[in-house]
Symmetry: T
Subunit: 144 residues, 12 copies
């Protein structure tokens, strides 16, 4: 069982960026936690970050045949990227949209996710724990 974790723009700044909204944990620390939990659960993970929409699209495309599911924090592209939405539809892998912050409690425009409609589901608001929950969700989908 292999899970691809994709991280969108600015998530490389985690830990430094607005800690009141996003928490103090760095992306490396989150990756470490995810890896360790995945190992316990018998799964392998790949963990990537990019500020480029095109690169994220390409990574989603390449997941086909390489991974069993995608856990995706699209960050700022959540609200604008039809290209990522179309990529997820195209690869036909189960995908899970996750967010560190509770997007329903922030600016109005953060309520309109373009991507969630083509995912299995969405998890938002639990900080670094959103990644762990996303991992569990991905495994539970595959085990069905």
């Amino acid at each position: 069982m292999k899970i691809l974790f994709l991280n969108g723009p600015n998530l490389n700044l985690l830990g430094q960026r607005q800690p009141d909204i996003y928490g103090k944990t760095t992306l490396a620390e989150i990756e470490e936690r995810v890896r360790s939990r995945a190992k316990e659960l018998g799964a392998a993970v790949d963990f990537r970050q990019s500020n480029h929409e095109g690169e994220l699209v390409t990574w989603i495309q390449q997941a086909k045949g390489q991974f069993d599911a995608i856990v995706l924090n699209p960050a700022g592209y959540t609200y604008t990227s039809v290209a990522m939405r179309d990529a997820i539809s195209a690869v036909e892998l189960p995908a899970i949209e996750i967010h560190l912050s509770n997007v329903h409690a922030r600016e109005e425009f953060r309520k309109n996710t373009i991507i969630a409609a083509v995912c299995c589901g969405q998890i938002s608001g639990f900080g670094a724990e959103s990644y762990i929950l996303g991992l569990h969700a991905a495994l539970s989908i595959k085990l069905k």
Copy 2:
């Protein structure tokens, strides 16, 4: 550690109701799975369902001092109940909104949750597993 699980209208029909959308598991089976996992994790749960908005409001109010967190599937009241939103704000307990189906992939009106903005976060789309993820999320918030 005590967690209150609240279930809104029609969730008592689970297992019979539109299984293509909501799955075949009954609410009693979900309760059983939640109880058993909670026990493993050292937590106690209370699990209730009502078709009455007013009763759900009252249960949220009474949670104060009795429970450490609320995991809430507001079902049809998600999109219309300011009363439940206000109750959650009032009790000042961490609350987590969960949904069996992926509300972002259904009718337009199911995208506008009134309640999530006053919760810690939202989990939607994973069937019965949404409850287990909600339990994990609740525990992780309290352990912080």
Copy 3:
């Protein structure tokens, strides 16, 4: 053939309430007319009213296996009750939405019924006769 007639909030006031909009017939008189016509047509009816959304939801749920169709005047809940909509979807019985007044000729918000989309059809504007038409419609659906 058994038909469940459900009446939403304030319909217990019929005959006293704004007779220029709703007519002078009381709900008991309407029930009488419906019963009598149903008898002629070889059908049985059950006739209930509640001001509680939750009670109406429960009655819709319980109709399954007990009734062949539901004729429903949701009154004020027409425009706000996702819970009743979901209940109708769940029981998978033919349902017919009826209104005494012509909702298309009143306040703007009365044009947006949440419930009709999951019913077989809608009848509005014929006063007490809307109930008789609803009865006929219910029987014609079942006879198909």
Copy 4:
């Protein structure tokens, strides 16, 4: 007692056109059913169809003094014809808007009828039975 039945564009295709939405009965068969039921009830009917908005407007105008009520399936003109709305207001005859399909369960734009606001009421979703219900409704209005 004379009732004018008017049928808007494309209703001449009934029976051939999208039978999953509109049923298999032809307009001639519906006319036959309406005539026969009207006869039983002691009423006369005239039954017409046109694809021309202008012709429908003219027929509505001419109804004055010739008919006691109009039962109108405006079909595609339901959502766009202010001219037909104005004609109905002008003749001051009771009019009833009917639809074969449940317009509340189809495309978004089919929820906005321009015409119903100047009718006595609306009946939609019962296939050919909508015409029979319309006939009953028309008679009940005149008998008041």
Copy 5:
């Protein structure tokens, strides 16, 4: 002169709930203040609270013939209850909508009251004093 004071959902929590928005006075203390002022002014009051929309609807209905006016804090139902609006129209008693907080200075959705349009007027923003002002307003209407 008898005035019915109705309190909607969560008002039973007053004093504990978000004191920065709703103040520290409890509902019992407000009731006490209202009673005492009413007595000075030669009026009797009945003071009730419910979390159930249906119960509030029923109480409004029952006011007819028992009370001379209604002072109503619909709380969370202000923005969603067509049923309460219809009940007020039906009883044809003067009604006054009151709010503790200034609803015009809060979330966007709190600006759209469904109920005020069928009341005599609205008072919002003066904390417990809104009740006293509502009492005065009710008396002044009746004395006209």
Copy 6:
């Protein structure tokens, strides 16, 4: 100087139709008044009415080379006819939109004229006098 007066749907009913909105003068009487005033002013008029959008479009097209200006009461087609708008743009004759009633004081949808934007101007609200004003306006444009 020749002016074409075009009248849209239902204007043939003038005098009978809703006299509180449209006045008691018939279209023939208006025509008579327009002709007589036009004669005084040294102009010829042609005066036509149709319930058919297509016929009105054709008449507008044929005006080119035959008339110096068009005075147009589009009635119900004011709000829906892109075809008439395009016809006016195409013939490149000065056109004036007139209305008997004050369209700004009626239903919301009567505020959105599709046609006025391609006319020289609009006159609304003066009953039969709107036609005389339209005649004057047409002559003044041509004399510039």
Copy 7:
């Protein structure tokens, strides 16, 4: 018969201001034309201009008892002045809204007049001739 002509902000610049939109005639020349035509028709006119909304409101108020009708070019206040709308409602004199340019063919916001709904009618698009038409309209209303 006395008619008050009121001119809103920037109309004092007529003749200099954007002649492609507003023409080359000055306001003094328009006044001269209006006076001379009024004299022929046996009417007296008063002709005023102000850039101040408050002054225009006051002049409308003072018209009561002094004038038989108001012809009003509200210019920039057309789209924003509830105060002028309320003043016209208050004095209960027939009022006519006029515009030099065709407001239906300009910026989107110029289509939403706040004032026309409380006037008898509106005339727009005929340059200085709009004033003469307004005069005729005012006289025709008073002669009814």
Copy 8:
């Protein structure tokens, strides 16, 4: 304790203007009632009216240091005056918006007050009594 009462455009016409909406009491009579009640309550009032937005802005500005609170009936400027809103924010005195009529039961645009969001609260619908309630509210705020 000194309270400034400000009255916006057209309130000088009270008593004459649309008595079905605004009542028969003149502004002078209201002032008299307010003064007399204020005296009983040990407060002084200043009472002014202007049709000029700019003058109202200036009066609000000058209230600082001269008055303890402002009771403001902005009339037609309620829906359009950002300038008055900004003035109230700037002086940092408690302000109360009042209306004679129930603005929630009138034209759609009267539901959008720009000013109330920077006031303590709003009172609308009680005719002249709205001023007395405003006075009470102002005193209660200052006494807190």
Copy 9:
């Protein structure tokens, strides 16, 4: 292989009408070009124009069994004709919507085609060439 070309209102004016938008070619010349190209490609075409929505509806209906595809320039009816949309759905022939001008670069309302959703596709912006492209597209669909 037979293709029906239908032309909506005002297309009979082509060549004379606003040549900067629609070009200088007449409809007869376009027909000639279409016929000649069709002949080369072994197809027959019928080419019609009408200003009447009802006639266009009828022609679409009659195409069934007579033609293999429809190429349709609905012109002004593109944005308003649900009747033509329903006719296309009813005949279940492949239909192609074409436009001479680029409708995406014109008035806002020309972006909302009602008809394209029930066609195979849309071609707009290439002047007379849009017809040739429509012919090619029709043939390619039939050859699949």
Copy 10:
């Protein structure tokens, strides 16, 4: 080179008014800074403030022939004054809209400036420095 600086409502309160939004500098100090910088740059300035929309309109009108450019802080009138917009269009002088605060980061309604569309450009968010930047911008436009 002469530049007119116009200041809208409430700017006379600068320094006292909400210093967290508008800063502590008074308008007189800003005038002093602008004058001194203008002198260095060889330009003359006139600096005025008014709470009256009408006075601001008049000052804009009078600028023609007296000034080479206008730097305008319309304050509260930014979002509501079509009259000021029309005045700027009329005088055909380069105008620059400036704001002390960043209007894009405040209430939603402050994003919709009516005036900027007829100016050369807009500068917002730099406190008193916005005036200096406006001066530079005005000079750079004139030097082109």
Copy 11:
């Protein structure tokens, strides 16, 4: 004559991706068909694909002087890329927007193309044939 064919995100997956919407032909096969047809018609084509908005922008920019026209399938960027729109405006080459699927028959958001307004025209819905039609359209524009 040289034509640049640009393909946006996910088009590299053609043939594998959702064949019910996009068909079974691969992008390489489409390229082959376009090349072969272009050769017959005496034109050269360059054919590129990128998932990166920035790269597509750069390719559009570089087309100037190298190509005579651009045929562009912007895919997911159609609805979001102002950058690509601006690039097309900047290079001032004729551009044609094409789509494999009929975008007017899919999700609501796919109806709002940002890019088509700066192209010559748009072709959508013909699968791989859209490319051939785009080629023909491009050649016809250049030959004018």
Copy 12:
């Protein structure tokens, strides 16, 4: 003092691209002017351009610790890039949004900047001078 100037998509075409909107100066010439002015003012500047949203995001991120402020012309990404908005929030450096053209006077969609709300302010409409003003603004912020 070091200032980072970032230029978004298509700005590399400046001087060639639509000179009526964007002027004739090239980006290199603007850079030269900015550098020279910065030198006079004792500041250093870095000046970059990219068509890639992801690269612009990365550059904004890297500014932290390297620069004192960012002056940003986001061009086409102004209206669509939540990613750039989030990057600016994350680095917590003062940022200034600049535009060559007056975005308030162009297409409707150019009025909705996503980015300005997280900047200190916005400057638009002064051509190349917008950069110099942006430089001044940046220095004035840092000197506070």
